[in-house]
Symmetry: C2
Subunit: 343 residues, 2 copies
């Protein structure tokens, strides 16, 4: 698999390509399947339909990697925290705000996610042999931030305040999420995932003084637990928004690759991130909405800067619903055009 | 003034201190004055009341600097773009989305902001001699992003798309805002402001490839225009969210100081930012909500890391409405406690 070759510290040209949220609302076939599933949670937990939406972008674009269709909040759901997805509002959870509420959560939650493992098995059977299957989970800080806050969008202030003012109490939640995530990701690997990505979408909301305890340490615990059983499975971290702390994140967690958000200059990353770490990224998804010469020039810039370094082409964040699907085709074709072909 | 001494490349111990949004909803006396003013725009444009709310935190806490009470959207308002502040929703503007709409804006807007200059004159007369008065404006990118989007909170996707897909058209808006901002800030200085801060609150939404054109170049234009007339007035930039690009921002714009958001490790900044640039920041405002030992320990960490370097103590972002006012007193007292006093 071209995608896995990159992790042998071998640059591949053109680089493998996939896109965060490649299965999603911008695709008419996704919207059709989603309508059949009913709510979002039912879609995530229906192996047949989750398999279908995961495969849709592979059929259309022939990406080098497929990412399991699921949601980072399946972990709190499996822990017994009431979760609903409200149209136009995003996910809403009943907040967990103290140790007593943490103690009421179910620690043995990974079993309850068996439909997800069935989706992984279906996918590994259905995907072309050369397409890697990426399993994923949210990082403990990001998942815990949702669990405490109950919803996104407001800077997760309740989670930050709890972490700052009662770190030992907040640690009990982080530890529980970390353990559940380890079991969840091990089960995904054992069902057939070829690589893992850990999404710490809200890492950038923490001040630098808190990054080691809430981002780096729990992620290292996960990476170590996965490596102990499956040393050959690459783990990609996505510490969105941590800026100059990306190199410390890589060194501290032991990830094999790091996904760069669009705010980062790939030239900076190429110099600052340890050479053994694969760089993934990092086009602004709004360039894919724009399309055309602007999108192609931005792709060329990223490809040129990261040429000669193990690189997986991706976005800095997920594809947005307004993306015209033909712009994705255009981008994939452009990346795969032979160098010097004048594309 | 202790605040200005720092800009003579002289570390001051303890450092001068002020806090972004130090005049604001967390103060009961602010809420009382705000209720008298009616809406937010009326408060900004009423010299008597704007002077009063600016002075309130100085009376309570004796900060080393006062910042003019105003809003970054006064510039579009003065340009004739309809603006309303809706309770619970924030500012709403009628979006400007193409060159024709830009052409209808008033270029000579700075005159219309004369109530703001009256507030500056009032303040300079009323403030103690040792308290610096900071004037401010939004940076062109951040102001233009609001003008195009019409509101905050959604990642300013319309502004990003316009900048990416029609850079020459978007440039006409940036240029117009830049010129208006120069006139506005010159008038603030001429009315008595001792220093200027330029808030680029949404700089972090731009990918690295776009930073030079939309953030650095317009800011440099402003800094150069201010320096040409008032070389002694320090200019502080606040490129929030740009992470590892902070040093390039400082070098490219010529600012005298840079305000660091809370995601940045001050130890990194002390090493990466050119030595002649004053560092301002950067406690997470949620630590001031938390208060107590956690807040004091975080202050100590920042003070220790930046000791020996010209530093202005501040937050990484504005004080939030939930902040207990007594935590601010506690923080100021702690910063001013003699080193080694065991505070």
């Amino acid at each position: 698999m071209k995608f896995l070759t990159v992790f042998e510290n071998t640059p591949v040209s053109p680089p493998p390509v996939w896109m965060m949220r490649q299965a999603g609302r911008y695709l008419p076939e996704y919207r059709e399947t989603r309508a059949r599933a009913g709510d979002f949670l039912s879609l995530c937990l229906n192996p047949e339909l989750a398999t279908e939406v995961t495969l849709q972008p592979i059929r259309r674009y022939g990406f080098d990697a497929s990412i399991l269709f699921a949601d980072i909040l399946l972990i709190p759901h499996a822990m017994g925290q009431p979760l609903a997805y409200r149209e136009g509002e995003g996910p809403v959870l009943e907040p967990v705000r103290d140790r007593a509420q943490v103690a009421r959560l179910a620690g043995d939650s990974a079993e309850r996610l068996s439909p997800v493992y069935q989706t992984v098995r279906n996918l590994r059977a259905a995907l072309p042999a050369e397409v890697a299957l990426i399993g994923f989970a949210g990082a403990p800080w990001t998942v815990a931030a949702y669990m405490v806050e109950g919803r996104g969008g407001k800077g997760f202030v309740a989670a930050r305040r709890w972490a700052f003012s009662d770190p030992d109490g907040f640690q009990t939640l982080i530890d529980m999420v970390t353990e559940a995530t380890i079991h969840y990701l091990l089960a995904q690997i054992e069902a057939g995932a070829n690589a893992i990505q850990i999404f710490d979408s809200w890492a950038g909301l923490l001040p630098a003084s808190q990054l080691e305890r809430w981002v780096i340490r729990p992620t290292r615990r996960i990476v170590e637990a996965l490596k102990a059983r499956h040393p050959q499975v690459p783990v990609i971290g996505f510490p969105r928004g941590v800026g100059p702390a990306v190199p410390a994140y890589c060194a501290g967690t032991g990830v094999d690759g790091v996904s760069l958000d669009e705010s980062l200059d790939p030239a900076w990353a190429a110099q600052a991130v340890p050479a053994g770490v694969v760089l993934q990224g990092n086009m602004d998804p709004q360039f894919v909405v724009a399309g055309g010469p602007a999108m192609r020039a931005e792709a060329d810039r990223i490809l040129a800067v990261l040429a000669g370094r193990p690189h997986i082409f991706n976005l800095g964040h997920g594809l947005v619903p307004e993306t015209p699907p033909e712009h994705v085709s255009e981008l994939v074709a452009h990346i795969r055009a032979p160098v010097g072909a004048g594309a």
